[in-house]
Amino acid sequence: MTEATRIRMMSLSLIVGFFLMWEGLCILLNVSDLILPRPSEILVTLWTRFPVLWPHILQTLYSTLTGFTLGVIIGVSIGVMIGTSRVAYGVAYPLLVGFSSIPKVAVVPIFVLWFGSGTTPAILTAMVICVFPIVVNISTGLATTEPDLEDVLKTLGASKREILWNVGLPRTMPYFFASLKVAITLSFVGAVLSETVASNRGIGNVMMTASSNFQVSLVFAGLIVLALMGVALYAFFSFLESRVTGWATRGTDIAVT
């Protein structure tokens, strides 16, 4: 067995062990299922209520991914703008830090005020919450590009655009993908948050409704669904990152001499 598989096996047994302990403790301490249902109960609820949950899963996924896509487009544009100009970087940074330090929960009521409850505030929350990590990473990546690498192209008479395209952006890709992993998780949080506060669809809303009806195992089923979706989204972007920016994480390969 290789080191990697051993670690994977241990990781898997940790997860299984966690749920077994949860199950065991609930039985041992006789915990009411109105407080903390057992994992087996949650699984049964998940299975039996899945047809009801499915459209809500799609709804949450839709809000998250739409908001995330918009956030990436806006974030990359702003990031490129302020990352390629030292002046713009200095001028815009304080404002950006100010914006990014606002707790994003606080903007949900504003979006509800403007657009009413439903899908729109969920998308917008998912968007604003993920813009800043992308802007910061793109602009930092561009602003810290080694002048030596740019000089190679400058001596060839390359235009600013060619330098951005051939050096700046590829150099920034590891930063970009690192920020995407953070951003997709944040988007997901934003969408669910907004659904919880102001929507009649989505996993967030399901959990809110279930909670007010004391369907505790359904609340936890929603939680499990959220966790699985979060992991899946993160894993997808992790995979994409390793494919695109493998050069930056070359790991333990031995140099050919």
Binding site: D148, D151, T155, P170, R171, W247, T257
Partner: protein, 289 residues
Amino acid sequence: MNMTSDISAQAMPLSTTPPASTSGPVHARPALELQDASVVFGSGPQAVTALSPTTLRMDRGDFLALVGPSGCGKSTILRLASSLIQPSSGNILLGGREAAAKELRIGMAFQNPTMLPWLTIEKNVMLPLKIVEPFKRSFQRDRKGAYRDRVHALLAQVGLKDFAGHFPWQLSGGMLQRANLCRALIHDPDLLLLDEPFGALDQFTREELWQILQDLYLDRKPTVLLVTHDLREAGFLARRICVMSARPGRVISDKPVTLPQPRDIGVIYSPEFVEMTQGLRALIAQIRK
């Protein structure tokens, strides 16, 4: 500035092209010409003169080595020639015209190989073909055909045939520097600018690369301006050696190397070679005081 240039400047008051050397066929014009070019960084009391007004002229196909104490402005001349910086006064002419006119194709290699880490050696070497005309025009069409063959042929010439698909971090310093030479030469530059390209290598690798560079030079005959600390490197490779004074730098000695080319590496132990490098050494030791 010399007499003829003053006259021609008066004759063509509206011309934005700097005077001198613009007459005659293209090949008769010097490849590189510094006319009283100086470089001052900063202004006021903090101003640092990196290069005193310097006049230097290189004919086509010449191989000039620039030696001198560190900080004397050797690299500044290279950066001027490649338009990375602009002169504070004076003119830089490439092929008889302003550097910005791109009359000449330039290839440049720095001490640091500066391979782009996200590209394979093949794609790194191909980069100039993507940027520089006339190669740029048909890059999309030829990058997997003619250009690829061209890169592979050049890599084979420096012994990197089997490493085209490798990434830079998989290669040793000497191999990277060979790839760096290839990148500087792939687009058949008229002017090759080398900024201490072998400075960070061990003696054996360095001598090996001298021979590779000599072969490439004799094969293609670009105009080469080599900045180096190594007097033997200058003597072995160059046809002409210029010595620069300490900061602020200017050229204080300009002598041809009369040894016939191609030179064998053993030449560096011959009495005349040793005598030449000793002379240069004494000169530099003197100006450092």
